[in-house]
Every structure is written in structure tokens, then in C-alpha cells.
Symmetry: C2
Subunit: 395 residues, 2 copies
């Protein structure tokens, strides 16, 4: 007998995987140029030149036994120093390298943080729409996952709903901004009211409630006047889970970090528990060469103009056709209201026109669909007549 | 309240870490050339040229969006094909690429396999001396860890002891050959008798007992007439947990794989449960560029002659001085009998001569000490007078 949960997780084809297979089949039938796949959140812009330059320099100058050798479990001190310096300078916080723990990407950052803090009976809250793996990770460490329904159509966070949901078992709240799948950025106002509720409830229950900020999309913002507030500045009991997957277009390299707010109550214990959790989960250390490579690329990104052009084209095109959609300020997703209540039925209809969308139900937001616009611009252009035919079905 | 277990794991300084700190302090006091640190199992020979060549080629020729992009959770099909082909050709088995699951190294291979199979009440058996993290990983997935005492002085496996230890709760047996810390290679005879006991007990209890073969040292063998038997050929319910950390001197890059024997009962379910466990543990995929790099380096190793020269020098030197030691055929460790029953007391005495050794107690084998000879040859040469002084204390 194997673990039933693991077998189910590994066997159940994900919705996105099924769409991918459908897309392959259709591409063979009608030609790849006639299939419009908006399902996958895989960066479509190459890593910036600094990544290749950094790797070539490292291969040339570093002792290979060091370059490819174990780092300490927390990560190479040079990498942690570079990251702390950059974050401090950019966001006005006061991280030391010993507040940074290098990880194999955002998923590792999240599960390690959850494993560090979870004790039996703990509950973790997230806000729909949310990245579906949150539930998988929370349950894998033995926690209960609770969801606050979407605050449609703004897709911010309702402090009132949070106040009603937090209870004595709440260990942490997970947020994701810029958000996958809505593209929304939580405003400073939202973070302030979130922090106020968590502080009030922590006092009421006599224990801290942590904020886990999942931030792989932090740099993917397309308007100069919009910034992504840094959650640590609003709430001291914050852990930032970061990844370079999107900012440097390195999703396969599995490189990111955890930053523990130095102002957190018991911040040293949290950091050590994170070290313990990383060890218990078999992480050993983050990939060594990429630790040093990202250290050399702080503040760099791929050419985000390509995503911005895609966003504008898709958002303008779809709203002109009559689709309703919250304006996506960041990430590379558009969260469109389904013209019928059943988002899965809408996705099925879209498939008739070879438009591959992902239903919102999996993100905890039925009635919506996600479009990933990290695609070729020409595909968006070619897709517009198909969207027009699709919306006509609802007129 | 954080997880007490994780806090303890992260706070407790490992013995090896303490030795490392002591060594640093002494190096500052007496000069680094007078400190003889045999404590760390970190490869001391550089990665072979093929690794750098592969990376340069990949950076030059691959689309960066593919090279650094997500692979499927199982791993890039090209990498899995290259590995299956190489293992099949080398060991005469019949793996398909779909029996291979790429991982972030041996630790990830182990914990993913354990998580895939563990259900409440399960027990996992290993043989002393064993790699201490086995206990951490088994307990992290909720299993009970049982140890069979050392089969000194041969350090093979006693089938009799195994027969007495296996019970209805035994889910799997973990072996490690070439062994850390003994350097011993389990013989074909040993694997045959191990398989016979597991088959007998599986029949008795009516469920399979899996064999987890942890094989990061497989290629580190120093005599032409000695081979490391491939466990899958002796026992069908085998999972091989492999890593390129030692063979290609890439321990920091976290790259390895799991191979599920296609002859295993329910082998497809095991593979899917492994996919699920990798997902639940936040692994997403193994580092993408190194998946392709190791695919290009199948069958290559660093210059193992350096380890062989070290082994011969250290083994001959110590046995000539009167130390007792099983002949280490593989890995890069020597497991020396402590001249007094208390191995920790012996390690303390050794520190007086700036000889840094690791006590066997942590490996489940009190009365022995581990010396890692992945060091500079000149350090071994310089250390001999210190060993001579040390053994004189016991004459």
C-alpha cells in the first residue's frame, strides 16, 4: 500500500496538463498557428543577458569545487549578502544576510516556511483567487487550508471577511501579489487593513499570526506609477517567499529565497525552524551556481515590455469585445469574467474556437477564467477573431 | 509556537558543523597547514571537463526559455532517455525513460520515495553504520526508523539479523553501497541474501517490502576487479536513489534521479505516487540546465585516481601504525576502530593533535570513527606524525 494522497496527487492529471494535451492534439489537426493556448504560466521572454554573463564569469573564475560544491544550508554568504543589500536598498527594510535562506524556488520557500511553523491543529488562510498548490503544500505539512471567497470585482482583500475567518487555530495567512491568477496588486491600503486585523486577532488569541507573502511576480508590473508595497513594512510577523523564476525567467532552475522579517517576534527561532524544515524536506542547499548567478543579477529583469505589450493588446481587445475583466497591473495573467455562471462550460465552449483558457474554479473563483499572456504577441493578434466568435455565442 | 521538531533540527548544531568551527579556530591559532580535517564529505576533485563543456554548449545552442524553463515534473525527456539508456547498457536492466524521475539530488530522491510510500504505522529499516539523515527523512514523513546493529568487522549485512527485525510494519529497507561511512561495498552475496529475506517476509506478511538503494557513491570504486552490484538485478521491488554529487563533483547543484524498477509490483502506481510526493514536497522539477548537462555526461566521472591515491596512503599509513580498519573499496571514507570503546573520547583525544575525526555513534556504530579522505594528499602526508602520536597514547 502506497500513500493514497501521494498517489492521487501524482495520478490526477492537472487541468492545465489536460489542456496542454488537448492543445497538442489540435495543433496536429489544424496547425499550431490556429491554436491559441493561454493556459500556461511559463515565462516567454528569455533570461536577461546578465544571467549568461554571470554563468560564464563564474565558470571562468571560480574554483569548480566551490562553484558546484555544497553551500551552507542557508546559502552562500555572498548571495545572502547581495540579496539583503538589494532588498534593504529597494524597500527600506533592515535585513541581515542571516535573515535570508536560499531555496529551490517559491514552492520550496512556501513549503519550508509552512513546515517550520505548522503544529497539529493549525489552520492557514488564503484569499481566492489563489495558486492551487497552496492547498497541496498546507495539507502536506498537516495543516488545514481555509479560503476566503473572492472580493470580486476588485480582487483585493476584504478585511471584514478576514476578521470573520481568523480563529484561534490560524497560524498564518498566505497572500500573493501581484496575484496569480487575477493580475491584481494588493494596495498599501489593503496591506494596512490586513495587518490591522492580524494584529487585533493576535492580541485576542495571545499568539502571533504570520503573514506568508508569496512574491514570484513582484517585478512584473507594467505601469510606472504603480508599485508593489513590501509587506514587511506593514506587518512585522512577515515571511517573504521569493523566486527568480519570473523576474529572471529562470523557472526551471529552481532558485529563490525566504526572507524572515528581523522585526518578527522570535525571528531567530523562526529562521532556525526554517533551517530545520529545509533539512527535513531534503533540500540540503539551493543550487549553488545559480545562487551566485542571481547574486550578480540583483535588480535585473527580462524585457518586461513584451509582457506589457501583450497585456495591453489582450486587455484592450477583450474589453472592446465586451468581456469583463479586472485591470491586471502585474504578473502575466488576465482574469476574465465568464459570460455564463459555469466557468468550466465556458472553457469548453472556448475550446471549440481553439482558445485554451483555465477555469477559475481551481483557483477558488468560479465564474472566472484565467488567461496567461506570457505568449507570442502574434498569437494574441491571431486569437482575436476567435474571441469575437466566442462572445457572439452569448449575445 | 513553531514546530518543535523543526526548531530542534535547525538549532542543534550537527557534530560535523562543530568540528568545522573548531578547525577554523585552530587554523587561526596554529596555521591551516597544521590542522588535519578529515570530517567533511565534500568532493575535493573538480567536476570533469565535460560538465563545463556541456554548460557552454547549452548556453550557446539552446533557446534560453527552454534551457531555463520548467521541465515536466518527471524531468526533461532527453535527460530521462539518456539516463535510462546508460543504466540499461551498464547494468543490463530494462528501464524506460518513464521509470526515471529527475530530482534535486539524493536527499530529495530519498524523501520523495519515502513520502510516496509511507502510511501511518510504517517502519523503515537501515543497517548501521548509516547516513544519519535517513532517520530525519523517515521521521519527517511520519515513519518509524529502525536500525540493525553493525555487522562488524566486515560491515556487510547479516541476513539473520534482518530476518529477526523485519515485521508486518516494515515498508522498506534502506541500503547505501558504497557505504558512507564504512567505505564498504555490499557484495552480490550480500544482496542475494538480503533479497531472499525480503521475498520470504513479503510472502509471510502478504505485502511487498521495498528496497531503497541510496547510491551517490556508485562510481567511487578504486580497484578494477571490484564492481558494485546493481540492486535491481537482485530484487524486483527496488528503487534506486541516485545523485551526481560525487560522480561529477556537483554536490551543490542538487541533481540526481529516482529509478523505479519496471519489474516492481505496481511499478506504475509507485512512479505516480513519487510524482505526487515530489509535488507535495514543493520540488516542481529538478534544476533544468543541469538535467541537460548531466545527460551529456553519462558515464563520466572526476579524476578518481586522486581519491584512490588518498585512500591507499591513509589506509596503509594508519594500518601500519596499528589502527584497525575495514578495507574501504569505495566512497571516500575510512571507518577506523577506536582504540578505546568510547569513540567520542577518542575523537576528543585526536583533537589534541589537531586531527579532526567524526565519531561513529552518529552513524549508529559506536566504537568507530569516520575519516573522509576527499582532501588534499599533502594533508594526509602531513597528518601521519599526528596519528602516530595519537596511537602512542594507547600503547
Amino acid at each position: 500500500m502506497l500513500s493514497k494522497d501521494m498517489l492521487a496527487l501524482g495520478t490526477r492529471r492537472s487541468v492545465i496538463r489536460e489542456i496542454f494535451e488537448f492543445g497538442k492534439k489540435r495543433a496536429a489537426e489544424v496547425g499550431p498557428e490556429n491554436v491559441f493556448d493561454f493556459s500556461i504560466g511559463n515565462p516567454s521572454i528569455p533570461a536577461p543577458e546578465c544571467v549568461k554573463k554571470a554563468i560564464l564569469e563564474l565558470l571562468d573564475k571560480e574554483d569548480p569545487c566551490v562553484l558546484h560544491g555544497y553551500t551552507s544550508a542557508q546559502g552562500d554568504p555572498r548571495a545572502r549578502r547581495a540579496i539583503a543589500d538589494y532588498v534593504n536598498k529597494t524597500h527600506g527594510v533592515a535585513l541581515s544576510p542571516d535573515d535570508i535562506y536560499m531555496t529551490c524556488g517559491a514552492a520550496a520557500s512556501l513549503i519550508i516556511s509552512l513546515k517550520a511553523m505548522c503544529v497539529p491543529g493549525d489552520e492557514f488562510i488564503s484569499f481566492a483567487p489563489f495558486f492551487p498548490e497552496y492547498k497541496v503544500f498546507v495539507e502536506a505539512v498537516g495543516g488545514r487550508f481555509a479560503v476566503i471567497p473572492p472580493d470580486a470585482p476588485r480582487f483585493q482583500i476584504s478585511a471584514e471577511q478576514l476578521r470573520r475567518t481568523v480563529n484561534e487555530h490560524t497560524k498564518a495567512v498566505i497572500i500573493n501579489s501581484p496575484n496569480n491568477p487575477s493580475g491584481v496588486i494588493y494596495s498599501a491600503e489593503t496591506l494596512k487593513s490586513l495587518a490591522a486585523v492580524l494584529e487585533e486577532k493576535a492580541r485576542e488569541y495571545g499568539h502571533p499570526i504570520y503573514l506568508l507573502a508569496d512574491e514570484p511576480y513582484r517585478e512584473l508590473v507594467y505601469d510606472k506609477n504603480i508599485t508593489v508595497p513590501y509587506p514587511m513594512k506593514f506587518y512585522k510577523n512577515t515571511i517573504v517567499c521569493y523566486s527568480y523564476s519570473k523576474s529572471l525567467s529562470l523557472p526551471g532552475e529552481r532558485i529563490g529565497y525566504i526572507a524572515v522579517s528581523p522585526e518578527m517576534e522570535g525571528s531567530r527561532d523562526m529562521y532556525f525552524a526554517i533551517c530545520g524544515a529545509g533539512r527535513a524536506l531534503g533540500y540540503v542547499c539551493a543550487p549553488s551556481m545559480f545562487q551566485l548567478a542571481v547574486a550578480k543579477c540583483q535588480g535585473q529583469t527580462g524585457d518586461l515590455e513584451a509582457y506589457k505589450a501583450n497585456r495591453d493588446l489582450l486587455y484592450d481587445g477583450l474589453t472592446k469585445l465586451g468581456f469583463e475583466c479586472v485591470h491586471p497591473d502585474g504578473a502575466f495573467y488576465l482574469f476574465v469574467k465568464s459570460p455564463e455562471a459555469d466557468d468550466e462550460a465556458f472553457c469548453e465552449k472556448a475550446k471549440k474556437y481553439d482558445l485554451l483558457l483555465v477555469a477559475g474554479a481551481g483557483f477558488g473563483a468560479p465564474g472566472y477564467v484565467r488567461l496567461a499572456y506570457c505568449v507570442k504577441k502574434s498569437m494574441i493578434e491571431r486569437s482575436m477573431p476567435a474571441f469575437e466568435k466566442l462572445i457572439k455565442e452569448y449575445r
